[in-house]
């Protein structure tokens, strides 16, 4: 117990010593010195950084010239962020950069990797410069490290945010593309379902279909699920509900293209198929729909 108290005391004195050291020279002054150093050695440090990037085989999707050009801008924004201690400009630049490099297949680990490399390269140059004066080096690192970490953080977060924005945008696009309700004949609608149906999409499909029945005054609807690979209980029940709701609007629903897997799932989970009108494929579905509507398809030769 006594020993622990002693250690604690020791640490406290050490801490106060460190605080004293830092206080003796304002951090902003140290940062200024640091920035001056980085500006002075800009060419050399930048080249070293680019060398390390190609050495570790990061950013393989980009050419050497491109890497060099981007590295220069990143370096300058980096030094500027250190100098002004504001991160907005760097954040904007990182967003812009991400927007350009994401379509080219640059991965998150690469972006984080190059920022950390720059941090290491700069830290090494600081070691080299102040190796004679260990106390000064300590103080410089005290000023440098938090800022450098924050920069690395800002750049990585910007990249990930940009990536997420792109993903969201694509999801939206898929959602809009994938739910067409098509009229193929007077009073006959087709709803081709494609891809993964989650509960949200299922609800959207139903809404669109019911609205489509009303506006097109449809009597028969063919729902084709050839393009649906799997179906869970929720979605299966939703499909049955859609069929029933359509019936309340006076439309008959024919479901086509049930894959063997889905047929098995539906039977296993005990969905009531009695109310569902199913036909093997889309062609058969359309033919049955035409019969229900009183159409008859004949070849031109037959009419002569």
């Amino acid at each position: 117990m006594a020993k622990r108290a002693e250690t604690l005391k020791e640490t406290m004195t050490l801490n106060s010593q460190v605080t004293e050291l830092v206080r003796s020279e304002a951090p902003s002054e140290l940062l200024r010195e640091l920035v001056a150093h980085l500006r002075q050695n800009r060419t050399q440090l930048r080249e070293e950084w680019v060398g390390r990037i190609s050495e570790t085989r990061l950013l393989t999707a980009m050419t050497k010239e491109e890497i060099f050009a981007e590295a220069t801008s990143v370096y300058d924004s980096y030094v500027e962020a250190l100098e002004t201690e504001t991160f907005e400009a760097l954040q904007a630049y990182a967003r812009n950069l991400s927007e350009r490099i994401i379509p080219r297949g640059v991965e998150t680990h690469e972006v984080v990797g190059i920022v950390l490399l720059l941090r290491d390269v700069l830290a090494r140059s600081l070691f080299a410069k102040y190796q004679a004066d260990f106390k000064k080096l300590n103080r410089i690192l005290d000023a440098y490290e938090p800022a450098a970490n924050r920069i690395a953080n800002t750049v990585s977060v910007s990249f990930v945010q940009e990536r997420e924005r792109v993903i969201r945008q694509q999801q939206e696009a898929i959602r809009e593309l994938s739910t067409p309700v098509l009229q193929v004949r007077e009073r006959l609608l087709i709803l081709p379902m494609i891809g993964v149906i989650d509960p949200q999409r299922a609800r959207q499909l139903t809404e669109q279909l019911l609205r489509g029945i009303r506006t097109n005054r449809a009597k028969v609807v063919v729902i084709d699920i050839t393009g649906v690979a799997a179906m869970d209980v929720t979605v299966a029940n939703h499909l049955v509900q859609t069929v029933e709701a359509s019936r309340l609007l006076g439309a008959t629903v024919i479901v086509t293209g049930l894959s063997p897997e889905i047929a098995q799932t539906l039977v296993t989970i005990g969905v009531d198929l009695g109310k569902m009108n199913t036909v093997g494929d889309l062609q058969g579905g359309i033919e049955q729909a035409e019969r229900l509507l009183g159409y008859k398809v004949v070849t031109l030769a037959e009419t002569r």
């Binding site: 029933e244 709701a245 019936r247 609007l249």
Partner: protein, 120 residues
């Protein structure tokens, strides 16, 4: 508010207004099953276009009307269920089994005409 029952040729037409009390519904039911034989109607059309909410009582009454009228020797068609109402009903399990439904009054009339066209 009482639901008026109109005679149109061989058919009876009852059009729902927005808010109906349970008493109104009961009155409509007894009115329809009396009129359908008295006026020698072959079909009954119940138009629910104006209803934006369908509770379980209304839904059950519609079903009862349809079944009772069938026992009285005529055919019932429920017309004009709104898409949102239809989906809400199905989610609540009110699916109006064995009851004929149609998109609107015109469709309902077309259905009845088609059904009775050979018996004229």
């Amino acid at each position: 508010m009482e639901v008026p029952i109109l005679k149109q040729g061989d058919y009876l037409i009852a059009t729902f207004q927005a808010a109906l009390s349970d008493a109104d519904l009961n009155q409509l039911r007894s009115g329809l099953i009396q009129q359908v034989v008295k006026l020698r109607s072959r079909g009954v059309l119940v138009d629910v276009t104006a209803m934006d909410v369908m509770d379980s009582f209304a839904s059950r009454t519609l079903r009862e009307i349809a079944h009772m009228i069938r026992l009285r020797g005529a055919e019932t068609v429920i017309v004009g269920i709104q898409p949102e109402v239809a989906f809400a009903m199905v989610q609540l399990g009110l699916t109006l089994e064995d009851v004929t439904t149609a998109l609107d009054l015109e469709e309902g009339l077309a259905y009845l005409n088609e059904k009775f066209k050979n018996t004229h």
